[in-house]
Amino acid sequence: MALLLQLLANGLVAGSSWAMVALGFGLIFRVTGTFHFAHGSVYAAAGYLAYSGVADLGLPWGIAFPLAAIGAVLLGCSIEVWIYRPLRRLEAPPLALLVSSLGVAVFLNNLLGLVWSYQSRNLPTAAGTGYVLGPVDLSSFQVATVAVGLVVTIGLIIYMKYSSLGLTMRALANTPFMARIVGIPAERVTVLTFAVGSLLAAPAGILTMLDTGVLPDMGTPAVLMATIAVFVGGIASLPGAALAAGLLGLLVNVGIWQWSARWQNAIAFSLLLLFMVCRPRGLFGLKQRQVKV
């Protein structure tokens, strides 16, 4: 029982981390229609930049981490401007953007490995204090992951509902053609969407670095989990994606309790396949023609 509680807590931590990646991925996917597989590389890059800011440049956390987030935003926007935008202007099919995105992800993951080597990196000083709640034992970074995950999720939901950029993004997501007619600058909003999406991935990458350390190809499993969360949650619903990510974390960890950690990917993807067969629109997906963000 104690083990189960601990695993559920771990699941909540993993789920919060995936939720942040999933929100960015989902936002970009929903607003711009881009299957941004390289989002995982942006997430990993944020972790590495934060690591280097502290370990190599000797910056305090309060400066290094925001800089890492800015770096992630710049990376995300660069991918949009240099890789996706030319393809959009050529009116390439959406799958051409996915192929490019896979190429970018392969390139970036290996670049990270080339620069930072294939060993796991984390900050030696970052042992963090432990929190013990009954049978559950969590590090301060794990607690922070859950807290930041919640703040990011709620913040994004409010931002999308009330800010003018949020409104514009929703307009572009729902009816791209009408959005252009009423004078929404589609290319600029697209870049801004990538900026916001990449910004959401940054805390996840940094917290992962602090908690378990970063690896060059950790972006791929993260973006796959994010994809599952987005599709299980329903592509039209950002809160759905965050909720699905949390549920996924819990489910996978209950799976560890019941079977073994080796099967966690199989469990996650079985859930996805189940949804694809039985309910392709996901938990909170609306039927076609009533889609909202």
Partner: protein, 287 residues
Amino acid sequence: MEYILHILIFMGIYGIAAASFNLLIGYAGLFSLAHAAFFGVGAYSSALLTLRLDWPPLAAAAAGMAIAAILSSVVALPSLRVSGDYLVVTSFGIQVLLYTVFLNWTGLTRGAMGLPGIPPASLLGLQVTGHLGYVVLTLAALAFTVWVLRRVVLSPFGRVLKGIREDEVAVEALGKHVYRFKVLAFVVAGSLASLGGSLFAHYVSFIDPYSFTLDESVFLLGSVIVGGTATLRGPFVGAVILVGIPELLRFVGLPQNVAATVRQMLFGALLVVFMRFRPQGICGEQA
């Protein structure tokens, strides 16, 4: 000389896998990323049936193709309800599931330790030996693949597949059973990939799950894209280039671990550059 023959055999094996993949992504417009898994189904079927049950390699390869065909049609089922991005994520799921099975069903596949000592291929009691023997065998498998693909692509069946790619609703409206065609495309592509996998297993004589990852599917995708989607020659040209470039890089003299990384980066960049400047690939015609 043996080295060159070795590379030619690999080009042939990956050519078979890429060409069958092309039937899905190029001709039918079914963007799946689970092809390396079916390649793996062939490799594991061949390896296990010859190692554990002493089946003759030809029978094992045929059985592998049958297994892959059945699995492909199972995979095709969810893809009938979903398309586009949904099909992509479904295929991610299939790819990861099959890979996890290769990796974790240790009782059957020995997991990460892999299966060593797979017997060499033999045809009707005649054992294939030496690199030259495998070149001939690969060419035979290649000829079979091209024959099947030509028959499929140049037939009315192939025209319907292209029709589905261009406009599914229109094809449906013409009274074609779109679902059946999609399942058949998956079955043919899956079983041909399995044939390539069988050849791979016998030739290398050792397999482990790491040859059948999502990255490997992306590699096959790269071969198709670089060579040219929806062309018969394209995937072979793509496989020759993508298998060949890393070998050429060997002579540049980078340290081993850096070379592997640089090779991958080059591959990623190649995908991006081709999508941007020549989406139809090397063999494709200007649209």
